[in-house]
């Protein structure tokens, strides 16, 4: 590399590192709802410091090896540019920009599913939830995951259930490394047949095209299966409310939107709901008389004198079933050969994807299947306009035990849906005020659950008088 060009690049990188460092320092004095952001900032500052040292060495080496030093400097610059996005994430992770009362809950859930990861919760101007992480396994940065929530819905507790979907994305890496090779082999065989029919035996050009098409089909398959697996994982943790929340988020768009490059090959929403109903909410075949978990939940509600809530649950499930019985999404997929081929593989992979996410969800302390008995208690609390944060074991238990997140979420949705039916014609402001109040109560409940869990763990650690006398 020419000395003059090397000097300019050196100044460019030095300026960027300095500016990055200053912004990190400023962010370091901001307020964040948890320790993760501060740790992330410290980590990034440490990396910048290492880069500074590496660059100083590159400058020393320039005289001996100008070409090698130039390419090493470019490499350092590339590494720096890859990290620039984190400034935005940290900016948007400040307390005022995220649902602060939910952050400890989100972090605890993440620690159950992703024990070796640190989760930074940030907002985004996009109307979507997302999670991203540094993919290189060699970098210590890959321990930090960035979870993004739509800023406009900061306090919309009903939608935030969808973070459950995001947690499954990083979990699927192993699944795909196992599942992809046979699928790609099958896709290649199908494409080869198709090519042979259309063009005869392939020459080198055809082989290159074949490789490109197989890669596109693999991408469509991967994207669809990943989203569907995450949906099913979310439903395995939170139950039917994942579909309620998904439908709320999707209702502004076209449920049949076929996968396309513009839509980043996302599967149609209708297809997603259908997969969740078919696998995650259908229950085991051997369930016998018990029926599906949804039937069990309806029975729990009826047994606790919440027949109306049980009916609402059944009606809502019917609404979603009705949506998924239409095949307009499938028609869009079948119309195009490449989508049809990729989705045939998606269908084949769905059972193993479901088993994979189900096993992961079962490792969690609590899921909706184990906590649905709490739902009536929380419904009662919400009727009283009280945050549904505790479950009392008996009448003498004034303190109660911390509620489970899935049961709170289910109760919140049923409470909201119950309110919608008789008040359909109520003024929009009243409906919105009710919706916002329930959001407030639910967010407060999430916050209280974490306070309670922490305080309870403290109580367990503090020796009591009884312990002391036993010691003697």
């Amino acid at each position: 590399m020419n000395e003059s060009v090397f000097y300019r690049l050196r100044m460019l990188v030095a300026f960027e590192i300095d500016s990055f460092e200053k912004q990190l320092r400023a962010l370091g004095s901001s307020h964040f709802p948890s320790q993760v952001a501060s740790d992330f900032i410290s980590h990034l500052r440490g990396e910048l410091s290492s880069q500074r040292e590496a660059i100083a060495q590159i400058v020393l080496d320039y005289g001996d090896d100008p070409k090698g030093a130039g390419s090493r400097l470019r490499s350092e610059h590339r590494k720096l540019v890859e990290k620039l996005d984190y400034l935005d994430s940290l900016e948007n992770a400040q307390t005022q920009k995220v649902p602060w009362s939910l952050v400890p809950t989100i972090e605890r859930l993440a620690s159950e599913l992703l024990p070796r990861k640190r989760l930074l919760t940030a907002s985004t101007s996009e109307l979507n939830y997302g999670i991203r992480w540094y993919r290189s396994p060699k970098s210590a940065l890959q321990q930090f995951l960035i979870l993004e929530l739509p800023a406009i819905h900061k306090t919309n507790a009903f939608l935030h259930i969808l973070v459950g979907h995001e947690f499954f994305h990083p979990l699927l890496e192993k699944f795909f490394s196992r599942e992809t090779p046979p699928v790609v082999a099958r896709l290649r065989a199908t494409c080869q047949d198709q090519f042979a029919k259309a063009h005869g035996q392939g020459d080198l050009f055809q082989k290159q095209r074949l490789g490109e098409i197989v890669e596109i089909l693999r991408h469509i398959w991967h994207r669809a299966l990943e989203e569907l697996a995450c949906d099913m994982g979310c439903a395995a943790v939170f139950g039917p409310v994942c579909v309620f929340a998904g439908l709320a988020l999707a209702s502004g768009g076209n449920l049949d939107e076929p996968p396309s490059p513009e839509g980043r090959f996302y599967p149609p929403w209708r297809f997603r709901f259908r997969s969740v109903l078919r696998y995650a909410l259908a229950g085991e075949e051997e369930g016998g008389q018990q029926g599906s978990p949804l039937d069990v939940l309806a029975r729990v509600l009826r047994d606790a004198d919440f027949a109306e809530a049980a009916e609402i649950l059944e009606q809502q499930v019917q609404v979603i079933k009705g949506e998924t019985e239409q095949d307009t999404d499938l028609q869009g997929i079948k119309r195009l050969w490449h989508l049809r081929t990729a989705y045939e593989e998606v269908e084949k992979s769905l059972p193993s994807a479901w088993n994979y996410v189900k096993n992961r969800a079962e490792q969690m302390e609590r899921t909706w299947l184990t906590t649905m008995k709490e739902v009536p208690t929380h419904l009662r609390h919400l009727e009283l306009l009280v945050p549904p944060s505790v479950v009392r074991r008996d009448m003498d238990d004034a303190r109660g035990a911390p509620a489970s997140l899935s049961a709170i979420s289910i109760a919140a949705w049923l409470h909201q849906l119950r309110g919608e039916v008789p008040d359909k014609n109520a003024p929009a402001e009243t409906l919105l005020a009710d919706y916002q109040r329930t959001c407030r109560l639910v967010l407060k409940a999430f916050e209280d659950v974490e306070s309670k869990r922490r305080y309870d763990s403290r109580l367990q650690q503090v020796p009591t008088m009884d312990d002391a006398s036993q010691d003697r």
Binding site: P33, S451, Y455
Partner: protein
């Protein structure tokens, strides 16, 4: 009006029809002989003196802006300090969300242990029957040195009194001065943190102000 003792408080908490609810009750020992200790919540409203010249509650047009500019809501996490300086007013709230039955009223009293350090708590100390929410606490450091507060510390006590007749903060309807029906006092709808003053919603307030603010 009679003060509820511990057993009566516990009884009221298990009343199936119109219970007294206090959540989260982290420690049962918070229920004393005739009161319930409440803790400091995570949210505070602090004042920014430099942002406005004054706040005039009768000037309805500008009041909301004045309040928004002069007050700022912050959140303090667990184990994080909140420092209140001598002479400073900050609004906090109870960690506990209270749902009062329509037959009970409550008073908020600062714990004397804090008072002895100079912290004055809750100037508006009466809670109406039927109130639901976290109770906003007006905190003033009247002492000589800055005080460090932490979310979760026991800050005040609630003393419950039985009301002679049922009444509800949320539902009581009274005719307003403009001839329309208004909800009496129910300005704060299930708050979960400290609330900015809504004195602008007192419909008679502009009447008492300077004539050009009507």
């Amino acid at each position: 009006m009679s003060v509820l003792t511990r057993n009566a408080i516990l009884e009221q908490m298990t009343n199936p029809d119109d219970p007294l609810v206090i959540v989260p009750l982290l420690d049962e020992r918070q229920i004393g002989a005739s009161s319930v200790d409440v803790r400091l919540g995570h949210q505070f409203i602090i004042l920014r003196r430099a942002a406005v010249t004054h706040v005039d509650p009768t000037d309805r047009r500008r009041l909301a802006t004045q309040i928004q500019r002069s007050q700022h809501k912050i959140r303090v996490s667990l184990h994080e300090p909140f420092i209140i300086h001598p002479g400073q007013l900050a609004l906090g709230a109870t960690l506990e969300y209270i749902s009062l039955p329509t037959s009970l009223t409550a008073t908020v009293e600062g714990r004397s242990s804090w008072g002895r350090l100079g912290l004055i708590i809750a100037t508006a100390c009466n809670v109406d029957p039927g109130f639901k929410g976290c109770i906003t606490l007006e905190l003033v450091n009247n002492g000589e040195v800055p005080l460090v507060l932490y979310p979760g510390v026991r800050i005040a006590q609630l003393v419950f009194h039985r009301a002679e007749k049922k009444a509800s903060y949320r539902e009581e309807q009274v005719p307003s001065s403009t001839g329309q029906t208004a909800v009496a006092g129910g300005k704060y709808d299930c708050p979960v943190g400290p609330q900015f003053s809504r004195i602008d919603q007192d419909d008679e307030m502009p009447f008492w102000g300077a004539r050009d603010t009507m």
